[in-house]
Symmetry: C2
Subunit: 197 residues, 2 copies
C-alpha cells in the first residue's frame, strides 16, 4: 500500500487483508503498523483502539458487499438464479487465489470474535444480512420458477450457510473439492426446486 494513500485508508486496507489472513487476535499491532507503514502514534490519532479498527473494517466490508461481491456477479448473467451461483463462483475464485487458505473474512471473524462483544457481532450480522438480502433479491425475481411455498428468507440464509460451511471445510482439507461438492449439491437442490412437479 503506497504512502500516497491517506494514512487512515492504509490502516483500514491493511487490516482488511491481515484480519482475513490471520484473524483479529492473530494480527498484532506491530504486524499491522508495519504492513500499513504507519507509526503507532498515528494509528491512535485515527482510532481509539484496535477494537475500533475492527468496527471500521466491518463497516468497510459492508460497504464493499455491493461493489465487490454482488455487482461482479450481476455482470456475469441476467438470470437471477445464475447470479446466485455467480456469487458463489466469486468465492471459489478467492479460495483458489489464496491456495484454499483464506475463507470468508466475515465468517472468520464471526467465529473468532467474542459473542459478548455485541457491537462487533451486530456489524457481522449486518454483513450477513446484506449478503442474505442480495441472494433473497435474486430469489424474489425467480420466485415464479420456484415451487410455491418455498421460504425465500430461509432459502437465502441456507445459501449463505452452504457457502460458509463449504469454505470452512475446503480450508482444512487445503482443497477446493469440499466447496465444489457443497455447491454442486446446492445446484441439485435448485434444480429440484425449479423442476416441474
Amino acid at each position: 500500500m503506497s504512502k500516497a494513500t491517506p494514512t487512515r485508508d492504509r490502516l483500514i486496507h491493511s487490516a482488511l487483508f491481515l484480519f482475513w489472513e490471520r484473524g483479529f487476535a492473530g494480527t498484532s499491532m506491530s504486524d499491522l503498523l508495519a504492513h500499513a507503514q504507519v507509526n503507532s502514534g498515528s494509528f491512535y490519532h485515527f482510532f481509539e483502539s484496535k477494537e475500533a479498527l475492527l468496527k471500521a473494517v466491518l463497516d468497510e466490508y459492508l460497504a464493499g458487499l455491493g461493489p465487490q461481491i454482488v455487482a461482479p456477479a450481476y455482470e456475469q448473467t441476467n438470470d437471477p438464479i445464475e447470479r446466485i451461483f455467480a456469487i458463489l463462483a466469486g468465492y471459489r475464485g478467492r479460495i483458489l487465489f489464496t491456495n484454499c487458505q483464506y475463507g470468508c473474512p466475515i465468517g472468520r471473524l464471526a467465529l473468532e470474535i467474542d459473542p459478548e462483544n455485541r457491537p462487533a457481532h451486530q456489524l457481522i450480522a449486518e454483513n450477513f444480512r446484506g449478503w442474505i438480502g442480495a441472494v433473497r433479491d435474486c430469489l424474489e425475481q425467480a420466485r415464479h420458477r420456484l415451487r410455491s411455498g418455498t421460504d425465500l428468507d430461509a432459502l437465502a440464509t441456507y445459501v449463505l450457510a452452504v457457502m460458509e460451511g463449504g469454505v470452512m471445510i475446503s480450508r482444512s482439507y487445503a482443497a477446493i473439492e469440499p466447496f465444489d461438492q457443497a455447491v454442486s449439491q446446492l445446484r441439485a437442490h435448485f434444480n429440484l426446486l425449479t423442476s416441474p412437479r
Copy 2:
C-alpha cells in the same frame, strides 16, 4: 473438574471447553491452568507446548465423535435419514445450551488455526472426515430411497457445510433462527430427493 481426575485429563478437558468457548489463541495458559487447577510446571510435564495440547484436544474430539455425537442420534431413531437430522438436532441443543454463543468447536478451530499448521489441520480434517463418514453411512443405508445418481459423498459433505454455516450465522445473530432455517431447507432438499419423480 475435581482434583480426583488425573492432571493430564483435567488439562485436556479444560482445554476442550475453553478452546470451544474462547478459541485457541483466546485461551491463555493462565486461563487454562486456573481452570484445570494445574501448575505450569505440571502442564509442561505432560505436554511439550500449548500447540501439543491442541493436538491432544483434536484427538479427543475425534475419539468423542462416535460416543458423543453419533451414538445419541442413533438411539433416537432407526431411520437413517432421521438419524442425520438427529445429529443436527444435537447441535441445536448445544447451541441453545450456550445461548447461541458457542458453535462447533472443530469449525471454530478450522477457521482460527493457521492453515500452514498442517499437522493441526490434518487432525481437523480428520474430524470433518469422521463426521462426513458418519452421515455417509446413513445415506448409504437410505440410498434406495434417494434419487439415483445422487453423489453420497458430496451430499454428506453438504450436510456438514449446512451445519457449520448455520451454526456460524446463529452465533452472530445470537438467535437460533438462522440454524433452524438452514436445517429446514436441508429437510426440504431431502424431501425432494426422496420424493417420487
